[in-house]
């Protein structure tokens, strides 16, 4: 090993390529296949003539009252509303941890995060048990004679309410985290300065803390928006026929219907949506691998 230092370091940099190749084969190639399927260049039915064909895309994008396009907008609306609600609910949690619970903040943060480390599927099933027609809430109401036996609150499950509630529940810990990190890195002297200059607590919160935490708020919002755009497990377990999301439609195209070409149009739409969100919001996400850790602290 008598090569010059710069050579050896260049050689180390090449180690990045086997993992990149792994991602290319297992993620990028499948995405390319989805793209090919969506324009009719490949088909899952043997013997079908394949040719470049945009009719599925035309139907999805411009077809009059296309049900899949309607579902896309409906899903996007639900996920945006849930993301806004989660962001608003998580902000006081992060604020509490960073500004009120100074001493034990990491232990208390862990308490908030702990449920997030347990199985997502199990937590959704637990909600199903709680909200079911003869579930925990309804059987409690019967038991306590607050409602006649057998008369259940119907909107508790298989509704937009139950889907939104479970999504809201699932993402709170994850959204509180980036906000907390931003607040921890905030320069506290600015707050002291504001109060020294006569600002009330509320004013200094409104004029200093809140504006400085905007990057965390946006990061938190995107943290929940991106994964929920493709969500389909929650509606499968606690949603009804009217509260299925776009992800469910993709799933049913590939499990119940032979038309993988049309399904690929929907799968591709979801990928494009996420890529657009990343282009718009990516700079607020802190996974910047180029910046050495030493500069962070």
């Amino acid at each position: 090993m008598s090569r010059s230092t710069s050579r050896r370091i260049g050689g180390q940099g090449l180690w990045v390529w086997p993992p990149v190749a792994f991602v290319l084969v297992l993620v990028v190639v499948p995405l390319v296949y989805i793209a090919l399927f969506s324009v009719g260049l490949r088909s899952n039915i043997p013997g079908t003539k394949t040719a470049f064909d945009l009719s599925n895309w035309k139907d999805f994008l411009f077809g009059e009252n296309n049900p899949f396009r309607n579902l896309f907008w409906h899903s996007l609306l639900i996920t945006v509303l849930v993301s806004v609600a989660v962001t608003i609910a998580a902000y006081p949690l992060a604020y509490f941890l960073s500004f009120v619970a100074r001493k034990n903040r990491y232990t208390l943060l862990l308490l908030v995060l702990a449920p997030f480390f347990t199985s997502f599927l199990l937590r959704v099933i637990a909600w199903q048990i709680i909200l079911n027609e003869n579930g925990v809430v309804n059987s409690f109401l019967w038991w306590a004679h607050l409602r006649p036996q057998g008369d259940s609150v119907t909107w508790l499950i298989y509704s937009n309410f139950s889907v939104a509630l479970v999504l809201f529940y699932s993402w709170i810990p994850f959204v509180a985290l980036p906000m907390f990190v931003v607040m921890e890195n905030m320069d506290r002297r600015l707050l002291e300065a504001a109060e020294d200059l006569g600002a009330s607590r509320f004013t200094s919160f409104l004029k200093v803390t809140l504006p400085l935490s905007i990057p965390g708020i946006i990061a938190g919002f995107v943290f929940v928006l991106i994964p929920t755009t493709g969500e389909f497990i929650t509606p499968l377990l606690v949603g009804g026929p009217e509260s299925q999301l776009f992800g469910n439609q993709i799933q049913s195209f590939f499990s119940d219907s032979p038309d993988w070409n049309y399904g690929s149009v929907l799968a591709m739409t979801l990928i494009l949506l996420v890529l657009i969100l990343m282009l718009v919001f990516g700079r607020f996400l802190s996974a910047d691998l180029r910046r050495p850790a030493a500069e962070v602290s």
Binding site: M1, I129, V181, F254, S264, A287
Partner: protein, 283 residues
């Protein structure tokens, strides 16, 4: 910076939120030991019957074993690739760095449902039958960014001169890695393994499309079983165990973090706070 009234209100909000977050977990624990055959109130009585039933249900136990095997394979592959990627990105000059970073983080944002159907049509085009190893590779690729985000900061925090010293003393690149860098990376590799394993163990989308018929993974079995009242209590019992183990690991890693913090205390207490927040951020 917050008045007494504000602090009290925030404390109340925090306690209520934590209660809300733990409610579903508490419900599972409650019904795991309830002798009634359906998870409804009032509670009938105490039993451990569901645990013994669950462990003699071979469909359930073999699904658990399948997921454990897939999880181990996926975590080993993801962690090994994570080490490679971290070493590569740690170099002074990385050819094509932005492309490499973009590719390595891509699995974080691609919706699992799109990835799952993409893998399904690719495998079908290659005339591959559904198989468990395919699920393991799919899980490895979605876990790879987590492995990288855990390993890279640790690798960057290591003192490069240690490695240099080893080479000056005659160690080859590989020997320097094996004898110096690798042991120092071990805590990060352990975290990486745990995070990758739990990602895989809970993954439903890819597994639901790629499992061979009659060989469901644990989440696929769980999903099917959640609709059948006869085995639901057993699933609740096993679910309670799975949750207990996850919480135990979280608790142990917190103890480990505190222990490490106490050891470094005084040296750079401010930067420890930030780096532990980052560690949490990546888990």
């Amino acid at each position: 910076m917050t008045g007494r009234l504000g602090s009290s209100l925030l404390w109340i909000y925090f306690v209520l939120m934590v209660a809300f977050l733990f409610l579903p977990l508490a419900v599972l624990v409650l019904f795991a030991f309830n002798s009634g055959t359906t998870p409804t109130l009032p509670i009938q009585g105490f039993t451990t019957k569901w645990f013994t039933d669950a462990f003699s249900n071979t469909d359930l136990t073999s699904a658990l074993l399948r997921s454990a095997a897939i999880g181990v394979l996926a975590s080993v592959v993801a962690t090994a690739l994570g080490i490679m990627a971290a070493i590569g990105l740690n170099a002074k000059r990385v050819p094509g760095e932005p492309v490499a970073i973009g590719a390595l983080l891509l699995p974080l944002v691609v919706p699992y449902i799109s990835l799952a159907v993409g893998m399904l049509i690719l495998l079908q085009a290659l005339h591959f039958k559904n198989a468990l190893w395919e699920i393991a590779l799919g899980h490895a690729v979605i876990a790879l960014p987590f492995a990288l985000l855990v390993i890279l900061p640790r690798l960057r925090s290591l003192d490069g001169s240690l490695n240099e010293a080893a080479r000056d003393l005659g160690a080859s690149d590989f020997a320097a890695f094996r004898l110096v860098t690798f042991p120092l990376l071990l805590p990060a590799l352990l975290s990486s393994f745990i995070i990758c394993f739990s990602t895989s163990f809970d993954e439903f989308a890819i597994a639901s499309f790629l499992y061979p018929s009659g060989q469901p993974t644990y989440p696929v079995f769980l999903y099917g079983g959640a609709r059948s009242p006869a085995i639901l209590p057993q699933l609740i019992a096993i679910g309670t165990l799975v949750i207990a183990i996850s919480l135990l690991i979280v608790g142990l890693s917190e103890l480990g973090r505190r222990w490490a913090e106490r050891r470094i205390e005084g040296r750079t207490s401010a930067s420890v706070d930030v780096s532990s927040a980052d560690t949490l951020a990546t888990t």
